[in-house]
Structure formats: C-alpha cells, structure tokens
Symmetry: C2
Subunit: 135 residues, 2 copies
DNA sequence: GTATTTGCAAATGATTTGCAGTGCT
DNA sequence: AGCACTGCAAATCATTTGCAAATAC
C-alpha cells in the first residue's frame, strides 16, 4: 500500500510521522492510541501524544481512518475499508475482522426503518476457538 | 416494570437513586450520562455525578444495564435486552432500536469464525426518513 | 514564502477514588 | 449491627489547546 498517495487522496500533507502511523495501523490491523504511541516512539522517539491525537483526528475526519468503538476496551483505529464485522474475544482480547456479506442485513435494516444508511459499527463478542478449549 | 425486583435479581441493593435511574432509563429508552444527570437532579437535587457513575458501573457489571458505544457521540445506556440493532441519524441524532431477526447473522458469524458469541454492539448510521426529506 | 505540522507545556474534560456520614436489609 | 451506598472533594486519566520552532509544498 502506498501511504503517500493515500494521504494525498484524503487531502492530508505527507509527514514522516503520518507515514509511520499508517504503516503501523496497516501491519497491526487494529490499534489503540496507547499501543500506537508505544510503537511509534521506536521510530520517532520525540513524537508527542498531542501530535498523535491531532493526526488521528485529522485522518478520521477525512475518512482515511475509522474509529471502532468497542465495549469495555479502548477504541481501536483501522484504515477505512468496506463495512465488516469485528469480533472480540472476551478472554484473550483478540480482535479480528470477519468478512461476511452484510448486504442482507443492511438492506433489511434500511427497508424496515426507511433510513438511508452510510456507516456501520458492528462488534460481536464471545470466546475465540482457542479460549473455548482452555476454559 | 418492577425496578425493585430487577435490582434484587441482579444482586444490587435497592436505593431511591437507583430506582430513579432505572425509571429514567426505561422511559427514555437510551440515555447518556449527561442527560441522566440533568434529569435525575430534578428528583434528587443533591445527587452527585460520582454516585451516578458508581451506580451505572455497578449495573453494567451486573448486566442489568448495557453500555452502547456509538461513533462520534457519548455512550448511551439502556436496560439490557436481547441483541438488536441501533440506528443513529447523523443529522438529527435520533437514536432508536430496530428489532430485526439477528440469528442469521449471528449464526453465520459464529460458524465462519468458530467463536462462541455472547454479546453484540451493532450501530448503523445514516439519515432518518425525516432528515432525508429536509436535506 | 506561506501555511501546516510538530512537540512541549498547560488547560480542559471525563471518570474514579477516598472518606465520613447515612441508609438498607 | 454490619455492610453497602451517598455525596463531597480531591486525584487520576484522557484528550485538547496555544504557541514557538521546524517542515511541507
């Protein structure tokens, strides 16, 4: 993925810090502010939390990045993609994407409610396969 | 609904403040901390925010109440019920429940991921019927 | 060259904690 | 009676803001 292009397409200037943020977000899949700050300090030891917040906010406003609010844990951030399901394991905190066709659900929701839908935040929680066996 | 019984069933002591909180939550459907504080002050003028937080947290821990994390706005609280969809209008901030059969989705998610699912937080956002017409 | 971004420090906002007094069972 | 709850004040944690120096375009 070319992060420079991605930034420019979303009307954001290219800075080394932003490239670092996107690269981490891409390799981690989902990441919260705390983890992001810890990781990015390894590349930019003097980066400040304020910069991180400003950048994340700018990216979310420009829809380059999506915030996923998750019950019980801190918000995660991911590079924006098509609507999909998130799964959270309440034992080991694994947090993964699940690509299922959401159109049947979205269509049903839309026609029953007469809403014109633009976004979704779907988090299902339970036990992952591994944790089911270990408990 | 009998709030006293509800509290006892969830191993929480009955206090006037808690009855007030549940009553408001039931009549409002969904409510955030700020709204709740403003409303409950009319019944208990000396109630403190700390008490409100402690009670909400206790109720959430005992699963009497569910926190709904919503993108862009403050968390809402509701009396716990079966999994369902929430709809948020991004123009007028209407926030409503939509009762659709979620079993097809949950079953598909479960069998594809091998997760044993326990909870869901589903928020769809868009424009309500009224706001579509006005824009 | 101009506008934006960065990093620091300080300010704000939200939530939690400690504790003395009160109320529930 | 004993333990949990309330309300206050203070502490903590998360996020935002203001500003001078550095950087992007």
């Amino acid at each position: 993925m070319n992060y420079e292009t991605l930034l420019r397409e979303h009307h954001l200037k290219v800075t080394p810090q932003r490239l670092g943020i996107l690269s981490l977000m891409h390799t981690m899949g989902h990441i919260n502010i705390e983890e992001l700050y810890a990781q990015i300090k390894e590349q930019f030891s003097s980066i400040s939390l304020a910069t991180l917040y400003k950048n994340i906010n700018a990216m979310v406003e420009n829809k380059l990045v999506t915030e996923v609010k998750v019950p019980n844990v801190k918000s995660k951030y991911e590079i924006t993609k098509e609507p999909h399901i998130h799964l959270l394991c309440s034992a080991c905190s694994e947090f993964i994407d699940l690509d299922l066709d959401l159109h049947p659900l979205l269509d049903a929701a839309s026609s029953k409610s007469h809403y014109e839908l633009h976004g979704s935040c779907i988090v299902l929680s339970g036990l992952c396969e591994k944790c089911q066996k270990e408990l």
